[in-house]
């Protein structure tokens, strides 16, 4: 099979996905090699992010099977557009990529926010070339995380993303940037180590011999029959695997190899879940491992805050959704109360902490903690149990809501950080008590801010509402108490958002320094904020635009786990189905 045989759809797909991931990295390399002025570097980077965005849009265009390669099949609930090549065969490590309804919206969000954040980087004047190089590397890491289906590859991208972020905060940040950068780095690294340990645990416990031929083909451990005769079954180096789909199949089977007791009478699956969960939840972030976030946000430059809140936090949710639950449903079931409770705690805690802040950016950062709590709550609401006759629908609703909330929060929080940046750039302070009257001085800015802040407040007609309300409505079936506590957050959210609006935008006059610098927004700034608001309105009014992508996959994920509860969890080992060789 030639890599340049463009008549082969598989080859086109390989190029498409690889370009999406590695085009930014190639751009970064080029920037390193070719000299150029600052303006050229920015323009070039923006062009690269724009091209990547267009490529991801192609990936999202609806199309059936047998259509043009790379188009998304909306009715499919399985992984699509998979490409798989051996990378390190001796350890069964593959270059394995693909998209489904969970990863595709996040890929699009990433590429979209990258364009906006790059464009928002115009005011950065320090070491522009280095900034652009790191920014593009960061984009490669983020896209790689969402596209890779091999755990090892996933982990590599996870780490790739870490270093550029460290430098971007540590060099271009505010006064306490070193502290914030190292805090961010260490927190994430602790999480990474846990993920690494869990990954190796799962790898060495995995046994491909337990899967049927069909399953192996569905997971692309074996290439589909008839697709390229040259790539017929190559003998595998061992029966262990990093293939995320295969690991999920193994984890969900009765008598799974991950159910062996490891220690303290908990299974390997349980321990792996806990390690992975801590690793991902640091990124999400949930209380009490969230304190890197306010510092990182406050110190990071505006565009990096946008990326951090818009994309990096979603990786935590994505990891829980893609890796923790499908592979270790056992522990997910037992720890559902913990996951959902942690989500609720984060919601309340973040909202209360936000209310007490006097730094504008810190407030927005805590609001992120609060909003990402919905994601955890929605994922954890395991209501498909015997008492509900394994009815998966409410959990589906909550998990869909969680997924929607990730996108909605990606839009609204990136927007809020950008808006804070706009005013910070003018007056160089963020003290909430020293604003006021901005609506009169910057009317367009005031209008856009109202829209985006209302989206964060969860106002109907804007994207925040859909995610929150679907999560909360879905949770009652799992736990009344958590649902009620979660619902009470609407009061606190209204409180801190409205008080912020009052302190910053309303009032007779501006009370802080540099009043003369409060010029209306430039066209560039409007062009960055307006699309965010436009999408917030679109998804708020017509959420189906997003559900079409999300729902089939998420529903499938939940249904599988509901069936697992009925068939594996609630059956004594005696009646378990025999494992097929």
């Amino acid at each position: 099979m030639s890599l340049f045989d463009f008549n082969d759809p598989q080859v086109v797909l390989t190029w498409l996905l690889s370009l999406i991931i590695f085009l930014p990295a190639a751009g970064a390399l080029l920037l390193c090699l070719v000299p150029g002025k600052d303006g050229w570097c920015r323009g070039f980077s923006l062009a690269v992010t724009a091209v990547v965005f267009l490529l991801t849009v192609w990936l999202a265009l609806p199309g059936g099977q047998g259509g043009l390669p790379g188009r998304f099949n909306l009715s499919g609930d399985q992984m699509q557009n998979m490409v798989c090549y051996a990378w390190i065969p001796s350890f069964n490590i593959f270059y394995f990529l693909g998209v489904d309804g969970i990863s595709l919206p996040l890929v699009l969000l990433t590429s979209f926010l990258s364009v906006l954040a790059m464009w928002a980087s115009w005011p950065i004047t320090k070491h522009v070339r280095a900034y652009c190089v790191l920014f593009l590397l960061l984009e490669t890491g983020m896209l790689g995380v969402f596209l890779s289906l091999d755990f090892f590859l996933f982990y590599v991208f996870w780490e790739v993303m870490l270093l550029p972020m460290y430098f971007l905060i540590g060099i271009w940040g505010g006064p306490r940037r070193e502290y914030a950068a190292i805090k961010f780095f260490l927190f994430t690294l602790v999480g990474s180590v846990m993920i690494l340990v869990a990954m190796l645990m799962l790898y060495f416990a995995s046994d491909l011999n337990r899967l049927t031929l069909d399953q192996l083909i569905a997971c692309r451990v074996i290439p589909p029959l008839g697709a390229g005769s040259t790539a017929l079954v190559t003998p595998l180096a061992s029966s262990h695997t990093f293939n995320l789909l295969a690991l999920a199949q193994l984890g969900q089977s009765g008598g799974s190899p991950f159910q062996q007791i490891l220690f303290w009478s908990h299974s390997l699956s349980w321990w792996a879940f806990v390690l992975l969960f801590i690793g991902f939840v640091i990124k999400l972030p949930a209380v009490p491992v969230h304190t890197w976030l306010p510092d990182a946000h406050v110190e990071a430059p505006t565009p990096i805050s946008m990326i951090l809140a818009g994309v990096l936090l979603k990786m935590g949710g994505y990891g829980v959704l893609r890796i923790c639950y499908p592979i270790c449903p056992d522990a997910g079931y037992e720890l559902a109360w913990f996951v959902a409770g942690l989500g609720t705690l984060s919601m309340i805690y973040g909202a209360l902490a936000a209310m007490a802040q006097s730094d504008f950016k810190r407030l927005v950062a805590y609001s992120s903690v609060s909003h990402m709590g919905y994601v955890l709550l929605g994922i954890g609401a395991w209501s498909a149990v015997a008492g509900s006759q394994y009815d998966p629908h409410y959990w589906q609703m909550a998990m869909n809501g969680a997924m929607f909330q990730m996108i909605a929060h990606g839009l609204s929080s990136a927007g809020m950080f950008f808006l804070v940046g706009v005013v910070y750039e003018r007056v160089h302070h963020r003290n909430l008590d020293q604003f006021g009257g901005l609506f009169a001085r910057m009317p367009v800015y005031g209008g856009l801010s109202m829209g985006i802040f209302f989206a964060a407040l969860g106002l109907p007609g804007l994207c925040g509402f859909i995610g929150e309300v679907f999560v909360v409505l879905g949770v009652w079936s799992y736990s009344k108490v958590l649902a009620v506590v979660a619902a009470s957050v609407v009061i606190l959210t209204a409180g801190y958002i409205l008080w912020t609006i009052q302190r910053v935008y309303l009032g007779a006059e501006y009370k802080g320094p540099h009043a003369e610098a409060l010029k209306p927004m430039s066209r560039r700034e409007v062009a960055i904020a307006a699309p965010l608001l436009a999408f917030a309105i679109l998804f708020g009014v017509y959420p189906q635009a997003l559900w079409n992508y999300i729902t089939p996959t998420v529903n499938k994920t939940v249904t599988v786990m509901a069936n697992w509860t009925a068939n594996v969890k609630d059956h004594s080992p005696a009646v378990q189905e025999p494992i097929q060789p």
């Binding site: 008492g387 609703m397 909360v472 009061i491």
Partner: protein, 797 residues
Amino acid sequence: MTANSNLIPSLLGLAWLLPLASFVLIVFFGPRMGKAGKHAALVATAAIATAFALSFAALVLWLLQNPLSAPNPGGHAAERVAAESAKALSGEWYALGVFGPLRIGIGYYIDSLTLAMFCMVTFVSSCIHVYSIGYMHEELSEVVDPLAPLANGQPLRRRGRFCRFFQYLSLFCFSMLGLVLAGNVAMVFVFWELVGICSYLLIGFYRERTSASNAGNKAFIVNRVGDFGMIIGMMALWTGMGTLSFGDYRAVDTAGHRVTLPGIFSQVRPAETKHQLQVPDGMVKLASRPQIERIVLAHRRDTRTATAAIAGQLRGWRSQGLGYGLLVVAGLGIFCGCVGKSAQFPLHLWLPDAMEGPTPVSALIHAATMVAAGVYLVGRFYPVFTPEVLLVVAIVGCITLFLAASIALTATDIKRVLAYSTVSQLGYMMLALGLGGWLAGILHLFTHACFKSLLFLCSGSVIHACGTNEMPRMGGLLKKMPYTAITMLVGCLAIAGAGVPLLAVGFSGFYSKDLIVAQALSFRASNPPFGGLFFYVAVIGAGMTACYIFRMWYLTFAGEPRDEHIHHHAHESPKVMTVPLVILATLSVVAAWNLFGTGYGLQPLLEQARPVEQSIAHGVFLPGVTMPFEHEAHVPQIHTPAELVAFLAALIGFVLATAFYGVRKWDPEDARRTFAGIHRFLVHKWWFDELYSFALVRPVLRISGWVAACDQRGIDWLIDHLAISVAAVARFDDWFDRLFVDRLVNLVAQWTYAVGLRLRRLQTGNVRQYVMWLAVGTVMLFVVMSLYWNLALAAGM
């Protein structure tokens, strides 16, 4: 379905979307519409007026399809069951989310109540739009706002925001109509929040004033407290019934069959029970989860037998009362939302503050439409409410009615008197609904919308002329502003319920208030021990209403002018403001009348939408409570005494107001001194603001401070100190390394070196000496080895 019945939703849908179109147009092109955005008012007014025309056309269509039955006040409940159930159009335009059988969408539920609300809202809105053109005209040029002082003491000068006002007004109309049209609870909630945000924006229209932005925040946040309850109610409904839509939903299932998914109403009042209240299956199952779990686990592999076993148990569980609590929670939750929106006790205190907004806003949002939405929703949700919930509704309404009326007696700000009056009248509606008087409550909603918007607009006209809200600075304006004074008098008579008892002729308020008082009396008759309280409060409230409303009128228009300067500058408002006043005044008189010689009128129209009453209206938790049928209140034994007592109470109130403020027979100062304690209590509004600030707001802020401190001084302290201790360990390690490890290594090296130096002396170059050492060494080796060998052998033995 006929073509006509499809036309009604389209007409109302169009009427609903027109204000949205106007909003969008004004957002983008408002400032460019004429000079300073002057024509934006025309766009908004045209949109809402057309919406009224469409709504009215829809109403006519509806009446052609569903002619009103002859007015039948003594009609029997059983007769109505067959005739009136299912007289509603429901459907869905598009889905917000679908999960298996669960779906939430944007749709409609149209019955005669919806149509009446549509006509009322669009009509009152149209009047208020026209009025606002006059009232807001100073926003066309630069505005000097003395209420928003700058740091240097100068009043603020700002650009006018004429078009923005109409932009928000249009958004509000869209949201309000959406709320009325809504086909499911989620859609109600969506528009519930949207009217809330419009209210927030319009209360804070003068956003430079701190008081205005505070009032806006207060309104929204207090409403969110109610919404919190409403979300709980929605969750209970959603999880218990699997649907939020009022009407049935017709769909095509996966197998291609047409199926009807029952809505909330048909689940709670299914046809099998002759539309009597029944806990839906889903709620019973939700409450019986432990039992179901046991059954499911017992029938492990066989879901079919498990399902059959559960179905068999369902009746038993229901008779044990399982799930009834959920129904109560659902009802109370939904009512919580209504408490917030309709400013009922204990969430009443946002509404008086909301008077910071421009007066047309107060008339439209905070009198006629949005605050009445809570009452509307109670009316809409009536079939779902259990007697326990209804009793709570009645109690809340009763407290509110008395509390607000008492505060209105002492308020001096003309708009605040009206605001408390609104709260009090909303309390009346809730009281009526809670006591089983569906028509009484809903009718009062409509009549109140007419006369209260009229009263507010009149007060706006006065404020426009005087430049102040304070009644002590007005007085003697009757001659200066005859139109305003007369129309306001009509409004006062209407709210006081003026009419001729026994002949049943009167102002619109007369009919609705009579119905309410009669219902309270009827409730007393069927629940002797405590039921009388509601009746007494309703009667006392009628007296207080007459007293405070005429006090307001006298203070404003009668007597001598108390502020010469203000009186001198006062003038009648322009036509664009007085014409709406006259229209609304006419409506305040005739709103509850039937058309001459026909059975057509508001009452029979609303009667058509009446939900089916329960034949046995005892609660499960409170078996002693009986909800009387509404038609029982129409019998003369109840209606006549109620009518007379209410009339008498209002008359006493009127006489008191006249004696104190009209003819000044008695001096109000005397009364104030005599009851100084009570007066202080009322002027401070029962100290509710202080109580909430002390008991709720400050604790929350304190806790949030603690949380933030916990982050910075707790978790971060821990993390930082962890890092510091790791660094300390590293430093110790470094020190240890240098002091011990390195030194040891160095020591070994030095020692080796020293040994080497010593050994060097052995290297003499003397061959004989070498040979001798060789020999000695070999011998020594043998000796050692043989010793070791022997030892090893000995050990081996």
